[in-house]
Every structure is written in C-alpha cells, then in structure tokens.
Amino acid sequence: MSEYIIKNGHVFDPVQGIKGDKKDICIKDGKIVDKVGSSAKVIDAKDKTVMAGAVEIHAHVAGPKVNLGRIYRPEDKLFSCTPTKGMERMGGGASIPTTFKTGYEYAKMGYAVAMEAAMPPLFSRHVHEEIRDTPIIDEGAFPVFGNNWFVLEYLKNHEIENTAAYIAWLLKVTKGYAVKVVNPGGTEAWAWGLNCLTVNDPVPYFDITPAEIVKGLIEANEYLGLPHSMHIHPNNLGNPGCYETTLDTMKIAEGIKAKNKFGREQVLHLTHTQFHSYKGTNWGDFESGAKEITDFVNKNKNITIDTGNVTLDETTTMTADGPFEHHLTGLNHLKWANCDVELETAAGVVPYIYSPGISVCAIQWAIGLEIPLMMKDPMRCYITTDHPNAGPFTRYPRVFKWLMSEKARKTQIDSFKHKDKVLSQTAIGTLDREISLYELAQMTRAGPAKSLGLSAVCGGLKPGMEADVAIYNFNPEKPVADPDDIEKAFSRCAAFFKSGVQVVSNGDIISNGNKRTLWVNVKAKENPQVMRDIAEKFVKYYSMTQANYEALGHHFVPNPYAIEVDVTS
C-alpha cells in the first residue's frame, strides 16, 4: 500500500490534544504511523485544516424504511440527480439519496464512518445489501430492540441474562452493531392503536412499562459489555412538553456505570436531542427545553447525546416510531406510509418542510443549536441531523457554520418571519459561544468514536489508528471574513484518505476505497432457553423460517470488520 506524508497542515486531534499545531501526518498500510520512508508521496496541506475522518453516530442511510422513502418520493429526485462523472456512478435524491450518492457525499465532507440508526432485524438482509452498495464509508447498523416481543417478555420478569443472550444472538445473525431503542413500548402499543407517551405508560398485553424496558436494556448492554451503549429515541418525541419524558428516561440511567473494555464511559446515548427538548403545552406556547436537558446531561457523565439539528429544508421524516409518523401526517396532511415488522418493530414515513416562515420550525432550528452551545463537554455531544428527519446529512457544513459563527446565527435569526418569537421562546439570541475547530473535531470525530467504543480505531490521528484523514481548505490562522466560507470549506475536502487510500481530491471522488461493514460479534455461553424461545417464535409467529433470517455470507457482508466481545469467562 502507498505511503503518504501530509505536511504543514494545521492539525486538530482531540485524541492527542493537538489544537491546530503544524504537524506532519504519516500514513502507511492503511494506518497512521510515526514516520514514513523518503519515497512517501508528499501532500502539502499548508494553510489547511487537517482532521481525522468524521464519524456519523446516527443517520438513516440504509434499509427498507429509507427505500420506502425513495420509492414513494420520486419528487425528491427531481432536479437533484448527478450524472456519471469519472469514478462516480450516477446518483440522485436530496433528502433520501441513492446508496452511491450517500457514500460519495459523506466522503466529500470527510466522513469515514456512518451508523445506520434503525435496522429492523427481519430486514437486516436488505439493510446489508444497501450498506454493501454504499461506497467508501465504513458502516454499521443498530438493530431495534425497544418493541421486540422477546425483549418485552424477558424484561417483564427482569431476566437480564436471557435478554443479553437474545441480544448477542440477534447482533450475530443480523450483523448488528448496537442496541437501539425507539419509542420503547410505544411502537408495539401502536399495533393496538395506542402509544406510550410517558415512561410509565404500560404496553398493552405485555404489561411492561417503557422505564422497565430501558432499564433492562441498559443492564443487558452492560452485562455484555458492548462497544456502544444503549442508544435511545425516547417516548413522546416531538410534542410540546416532551422534555419531561426525556428527563424521566435519562434518570433511569442514574447510578449505572459503564462496563466494557472499549473505553466507553456512557451507559445511555440520547439521540436527536432537539426533538426531545420541547417545553410548553401546545404549538402556540411551544418553547425550548434545551437548558433543562443540557443541565441534566452536563451533570451526568454516563450519558452522551447527539443534536438532531433542523436545517430548514424540505426533507423526508422516517422513524421506527410508527405512532409519531401518524401524528405528523395529521399535522401536515402530506402523504404517509407505514410498515409493521411482525414481532419486532414498525416504521412510518412522511415528507416534511421545515419552513423558515413557520415559527415552530424556526424555534426547532434554534433548539438544535442551543443544545451543543449549552453542552460543557464537546466529547459528549455530537452533531447530527438525524438524517433525513431534521434535515439531510449533506447540510452538516451549514450546521458547522451556525455553530462556529455567532454572526451566521444572527443573520439567520434576522431573516426569520417570526424572529421575535424565536428570541422569546429560546435562548439562542443570548448565546455568544462559537465552537472552535478543536471542539468541532471532538463533536464529529473523537467524541462519537469514543461513544461507539471505537476510540482505538478511528476518530483520531494517533499512530496505530485507521488512516482516515480529511484535509479542508480552511486556514485557522486567518479570521473568517464570511461565515459562508466555513460551509464551503467543510462541504468539499481538499483531500480525504479512507483507511490509507486517497478517495477524494479537490472535492472529487477518485477511488471507491475499501468499504467495510462494522458489526459486533459477541461470544457468549449457549443459552438453551433463549434458543428454544427463538425456535418456537419462528414456528409460531414469524412469516419466515429461522433458516432464512440470517444476513449470512459474502453476498450480504462482503467485507466485515467484526468487533469481538467475549462474555464466556
């Protein structure tokens, strides 16, 4: 493999504590190394910013729900198609891009890893086929557990070992990465025409509460010592007053310590926090609860969060929170699709326009920015748009601009039709913090990598780590004349190396890299009861046989990267 030396760049690497110093980065055999030979290819990064490849902790980029969006929104591809160009195959789609466009767009922004945030286990084969067809970036997928019949039945009796054995089995057969929970109990209740809006609403038939599901899954997660923590989209998403449910959910994790060998410190990851930080009683008196939420997270070190920034675009919402999507179509009256996934989960899809002319959308925009600006530790707060729910991931550079420049935020606030309401219902106008490049590297690289248990693998530039290196046309020594320059610089890398292969040059794709699928292989003792329960459920309830369930072999996971976890001892 080629050797490279990236010279004269301003390096930002929270893993090594490097804050913009000029430092040479050496790449050999796909890894960062201390030094390379004299034949190494020299890349001049003078007056440029150098960071590790970014890590996406939560996005909906592969699977049946994403594809349902693609199928029922042909208009999303209208005027957003890109023709074949050099290495690039044609692509299309603005909020739900094709697999190829997804890989290219992440790479062009310097992203090396992306996590698909909700994999219905029954459709893991579909998820992996799409992941396989998304070039360059390494991807993993989180199977959903929060409404799964096995989990509900085991946790009703607080059977942590059985739950853990089931998780270990499911991660293996679906080639999954982490325990994802979406509206715990609520999506199952939706199959009965109901929902769980607080952590104490019982799930019909199963007679278990969301609080019991969340606590049990955290305990099972730590029992196994998985690389990532339980990753939760709590109950009551997107409703005025929902911040209380969010606080109640986070309180469940109080006093629980992380137990794992990956350096992960949190036991609960709260995702798209913006959607869960609403105060008020209706859309008229709707206001920000960002302060209450971030105060709690700042105090509790065993929680990490991602933001879920609203980008003020037309997009496609999609979630395993089936009842929420039904609620949403009742609000905006746009087309609705719903899908039930047998014993496991469900999903809904609705297009949504976050219009700057609507006060609620503008307030949502402000809340999404308040959260990272109010978080004291950037290592525990990561930037996402919950792609495509609050906006497409291709807007990350715009979110960076708003976070890094108070002027850019002010310009946006001034352009809102309901500016006064945004200022009275949120604290966005009082926040003068500007996120530094070092903090940005924490929020988009080192932080999410640590939360995912990948701190030894990616998110940094320490020798021995994956050679994922992004070089941006951004000179940190020069004052920013126009905030739009930030957005421009982070939209297209000057160069991007993925596992030691240069995949982007001057914003163009020059290689399809060597894409891998990340998954967690848990070696656990055989649990005959759980295996019997699984076999029985397949015979009694599933529409397919157990033999057809597994995402197995080269077709689905051609280039696996397994993270090994051993709980046999």
Partner: protein, 266 residues
C-alpha cells in the same frame, strides 16, 4: 424582440430531451452558440445544432427573445422548460413536458402536445391549438404541488389527470376532457367547454370547475348547492352548483369551511 428560428433538419432516432430550447437559455447567444447548446438523445449527450438549423440571434434577455420552432418536433421533449419570459412558437405538434415548470412568458403550440405539459407551472401563458395529452398542469410524479399560476388554453381536447394537485391559475379546454380532471385540487380554475368524463374533481378540496357540456358520471362526494347565474369565459348562463369532495378534509377560512366548487351549465 429578436427572433431565433430553429428548423428540424435531421430528425433524432430516439426522443430528444431539449430542455435548452427556452428564451432564458437562448438569451444573449448568437446562432452558432445556440447550435452548440446541449441536448440529450436518449442517454447520449449531443448538441442542438446536430438536429436543428438555427437562424437568427437571440435578444439580450429572455424577454427580448422569441423562438420559432419549425419542422417535425413530435419526438422533442421539454420545449420551454422552466422559461421565465419571452415567447416560443411551435409550428406543429410536439412531445412531453412543454412549458413544464414555466414561470412566465408565452408558448404557442400550433399542433398537439403530449403529456405533462405545464407541469407545476407557476406563471405565463400556454396556448395549445390542437389537443393536449394527460397530466396537463399537474404536479410532478409523487409531488403535491401542481400548477399554481398562469393560464392554459387548449383549443382541442385534453387527456386525463389534468390539473392534478392544482393550487392556482386557470385552464380552459374548448373541447372535452378525459377522466380525473382536477384530482386533489387545492385551488385554481378549470373551464371545460365540451364534456367531462368520470371522477371529475375527485378528492378536490378547493378550486372551481365549470362544465358547459355533460358529465359522464358525477363523483358521489359532491352535493348539490342550488343554481347560480354566472358569466364564465365570456358566456352568461345558469349553472347547477355542487360542493365537494365531501369525503375529504376541508380547510376553514375565517370560520367558513372551504369546498371545491363544481358548476355544470344547465
């Protein structure tokens, strides 16, 4: 106003996607530059000059530019695509997407036009002297935002699904219309001087339809609302008034429920 005449001399074997034949793209260009504009024959990129003989130079702006299209352009799509000003005259029949997404200016098609003409049109004028195809002034596939402004006149007949998801503007059809006219409409006006088929105004929540001839089968969701004397498109007559589609959700404006209006000449 400067006139550019393009004459088909070398007919394409496949359909030609010529979204560059608009006053906006021609503006400020001479005949040679216009001949060099890109088009697609099937999936292959090509130039306008390969198929058309170009004579005359365009004006400096779209508003100063008139395009006359001569010859057989039945296999040419997208004439007048996204145009904002100026004039296009098509001296014959043409294919799909004429005047699609147009925001201003005027198009005169002297023959027939195929489907998707004036898709999501926002302004301007489209006159079709022959017949119009399906989905005239409708929304793009999957979209819920159809024609929102401007005026369309069809001197012949129009196909099915015209004015689907229409939110504004006006369509006048001197002849007959096929099924599903004004489906899902949330505004706008459709005048049919001939006859209409079934599913007229299905799922319509706002907007108006005027029919001078017969309606094949009425939608069951429309209910009679008396008779009314009206002057429509220069004709004074008595119309039977229906409101609907009552199977749908209807907005309230100042406390009054808004319905789609269907008027049939008695």
């Amino acid at each position: 106003m400067e006139t550019v005449t393009i004459t088909m001399k070398n007919a394409p074997a496949l359909y030609l996607e010529a979204d560059t034949i608009t006053p906006d793209t021609f503006a400020g260009k001479n005949a040679t530059q216009i001949a060099g504009l890109s088009v697609h024959e099937g999936n292959m990129p090509s130039t306008l000059g390969k198929y058309f003989e170009v004579s005359g130079n365009a004006g400096t702006t779209a508003a100063d530019t008139k395009i006359v299209v001569k010859g057989d352009v039945k296999r040419v799509k997208y004439i007048g695509f996204k145009m904002s000003a100026g004039e296009v005259v098509i001296e014959g029949s043409t294919d799909q997407y004429v005047g699609a997404w147009m925001t201003g200016g005027k198009i005169l098609a002297m023959g027939d036009v195929e489907a998707f003409a004036a898709t999501a049109m926002r302004g301007g004028e489209l006159i079709i002297e022959g017949n119009a195809g399906n989905y005239l002034g409708a929304a793009y596939r999957g979209d819920w935002r159809g024609m929102s402004g401007g005026k369309i006149l069809v001197k012949g007949n129009a196909g099915s699904d015209i004015g689907m998801y229409m939110t504004g503007g006006e369509i006048v059809v001197n002849g007959d219309v096929d099924v599903h006219a004004m489906t899902h409409a949330e505004g706008g006006k459709l005048i049919v001087r001939g006859n209409a088929k079934s599913k007229l105004g299905g799922q319509m929540v706002e907007g108006s339809i005027y029919v001078f001839g017969t309606i094949d089968v009425m939608m069951p969701g429309f209910k009679p609302n008396g008779e009314i004397e009206l002057e429509v498109d220069g004709t004074k007559a008595t119309f039977a008034h229906f409101i609907g589609d009552t199977g749908e959700r209807h907005k309230k404006k100042k406390g009054v429920v808004q319905y789609g209006n269907l008027y049939k000449k008695i």
